[in-house]
Symmetry: C2
Subunit: 510 residues, 2 copies
Amino acid sequence: MTAYSFALSMIVASTLFARSVTAGDALKQQVDGWRGAHETQILSTFDRLLQFPSIAADPKGTDATAAYLKQQLEDRDFHAELLTVSGAPPVVFGSLTTPGAKRTVVFYAHYDGQPVTPSQWATPSFDPVMRSGPLGSGEHVVDWRSAKPPYDPEWRLYARCAGDDKISEWAFLAAFDALKATGRKPSVNIKIVWEGEEEAGSPHLSEILRANAGKLSSDLWLIGDGPIHQSRRPLLYFGARGVMGLDATIYGPIKALHDGHYGNWVPNPAAMAANLISELRTDDGHILIPGFMDDVRPESKAEREAVAALPPVEDALKGEFQIARSETNESVTNAIMRPALNIRGIRAGKVGGEAANAIPVDAEVSLDFRLVPNQKPDKVRTQLEAYLRAKGWYIATSVPDKATRLAHPKIIKIDWEDGYPAFRSDMSSPSARAVIAAETGASDLPVAVTPTLGASVPLYIFDDVFRTPLVGLPIANHDDNQHAANENIRLQNVWDGIDVYAAMIGELNW
Amino acid sequence: MTAYSFALSMIVASTLFARSVTAGDALKQQVDGWRGAHETQILSTFDRLLQFPSIAADPKGTDATAAYLKQQLEDRDFHAELLTVSGAPPVVFGSLTTPGAKRTVVFYAHYDGQPVTPSQWATPSFDPVMRSGPLGSGEHVVDWRSAKPPYDPEWRLYARCAGDDKISEWAFLAAFDALKATGRKPSVNIKIVWEGEEEAGSPHLSEILRANAGKLSSDLWLIGDGPIHQSRRPLLYFGARGVMGLDATIYGPIKALHDGHYGNWVPNPAAMAANLISELRTDDGHILIPGFMDDVRPESKAEREAVAALPPVEDALKGEFQIARSETNESVTNAIMRPALNIRGIRAGKVGGEAANAIPVDAEVSLDFRLVPNQKPDKVRTQLEAYLRAKGWYIATSVPDKATRLAHPKIIKIDWEDGYPAFRSDMSSPSARAVIAAETGASDLPVAVTPTLGASVPLYIFDDVFRTPLVGLPIANHDDNQHAANENIRLQNVWDGIDVYAAMIGELNW
């Protein structure tokens, strides 16, 4: 047993016992007390933050959000500034020195959200609405502004970015206010990095971090992103899958053709797209691209133990998602320790009442790869393109002209998104242990510790630039519909998140 | 050699020789002369007809179109009435007796069109626009109302139903006017059946025909639908493929889920839909449903000869459609002598800029089968459903509830459209020979004769009810974009169509 895996076993084991009374209890009680007296104020200002239309592709929306967040930091006596490079939403940077503190912690979160499809939302995505519970559970809309606190902690506030992840910024600010109100000072020097294009793949983050490397030096990064464990236990994660997306267009005839006259003779791009997907992955998610799994780092014993120690959530999730099976017969965490190929969307011709008896002109497929250590995005791209060529595809990088169309029987245009690799950090560093201890002190439930998130957070960037320990610190409910319509945050997760952030600001010591 | 195939060989052979001067020439010259003096009038009133939004699902639009067409017949001293059953657009019926005529011919056409997707149209689908040529050919919009006739015969009028198939009604009426103006009387008694829900699969046509069987008795049906041969030769067809469509929904999780957190564990309905399609057909159109080809009637020697006699159009079509290959290496007519499985549309999640990193909640696939003799729609349905069940699918007929979702790993809801079988009629009957002769007299180019259209026309209904010979009499250009956006009719096809209809009204004798 290596030192690493021994330390990890202790960490995991610690989650199996009920927590004892610690210094964290006193802080938690004080923070809860302050929060109970300020619920309306916390939600009112959060409500304002959620109204900014902060999608990375909308500079006006992200600029306004960043300005608002910067002002929030300045109101709390932080030094604050916007770190910018051309063409990127600003990073909100803040810093506050604590006299006597020997450690510096950077609190990272992002204020941008995934694009929205308005028609899929029950209410507009940037017009926050409180509901008494999850949509479809018999819930009703709550006029929380007229209600008297304390509010029902099962209420949920619906808005894009609510859980992913403006709540991380807001819980930090509320926790800071609570500490200040109770006369406590931070135990560490604080730095803030709130990004504005995480949902677009953080294409400029590395450049901004490098340009400000001195300013951003620290002993620990806390990555405030992602949801907590599906069991509702607090979660700390030490890695995340990488991601690489693409949008592919497959070309049929230059104009839509009557499928009676030409069906059987003119190639059908919808069928070609379907057959392509079936050559990429099986129904159980097995990826068919040759060599794709070659570089995957085998799971370590420590990782396997950590995953095995997580409480089972699979039956509950199947009930919640209303699915009779998972793609493979294993735990969800075991599944996300492997890479995935997701079909995000497919479109060709028309369906339902709009369907016409026509061979469509093209088919569009959007997909993403979730990568694990040590897969490299560039290599995956090379592997996929080589596989497609072996299957007879001509890969275009722009819309094919007539000569190209006439020269190649199977044409696919691929628009690659900027992707990034996976990362898993050391679960046994002193700072990691300090974070686990602080989180345990701030929580009523045992803390779940996992080697990786299934989702992608650009952890590799922080590691590339700073080689500093980092820990993922999510607070959102797992069923917050992040990336989908009707994203929401459950109030109890807001309250718990404030406790967690208060512990990270006030109790971290190593 | 049977009498049938002998006769057919003669018919086919006749198309290979240039036509000699016949009685048809005199008529054609007269009709062309009248048309040359009336181009503006013909187009003005056709323009009005095209402005009616006649989609079968829109009763207001079809009622208005039917009323307008009925009035046109009455203006020409036809007895005219609307034949109706509950829930169906009316059939416009007309009749005109010719003293001394021994034969009665029914002219069938339909006045409804395929549904439209407005965003795909260069100009609104029911606001006819004249262009100097096909879209994308460097053409321009023509202000034909200010132009002086004769108009350029390469101009095209763009509107839904222009080619499919209001032009058949309009060419009939113009031909009738031309004959009258030149003092000729019809050679046959005339009946008119203009249907309003052909593009919806003619679900009520059989009922209407049966209810009016006495009124509709005749010696021949002329089916004015479909495009002419791709070589631009006039076309007569003696059959059509059947059709049966369906819209299928495949179910994933009850709400969209972050594909990072759950990709690899929650089944992806877009991938399931793709894999399903790949199990239904190969890229070259081969249909994988067991037993699907069992009932297909082998092609007769006569059919093979007729197909072989058609002029080659494949290279020209590949250039026009900008495709490098056909699904199989054969002529387009050889291909449509077989059944087809067309993917009309597929939709799941979002693509392009709207794509979110989410596992979609469902996937929708719209497809149709084109059938040939002797396939039966009910049997194909049974075969497909049995195949799906063998592949592990649960077939739902309504949106599955939670219990259903939790009980079945693979759920597909299928909404079947009303379909109908293929039909091919006798190419050697006296009436068929008379039609070929009349068409030859009315045309500058040799007539192409084919055993079947690739498209579906409900010929079987006429045969079921009347057991009367029928011949398909298309006049639209093959590149009229029927069923797709930017449907159009080429003016030369209008003029040629008037010649053809004049011959069918004034020259048919057997």
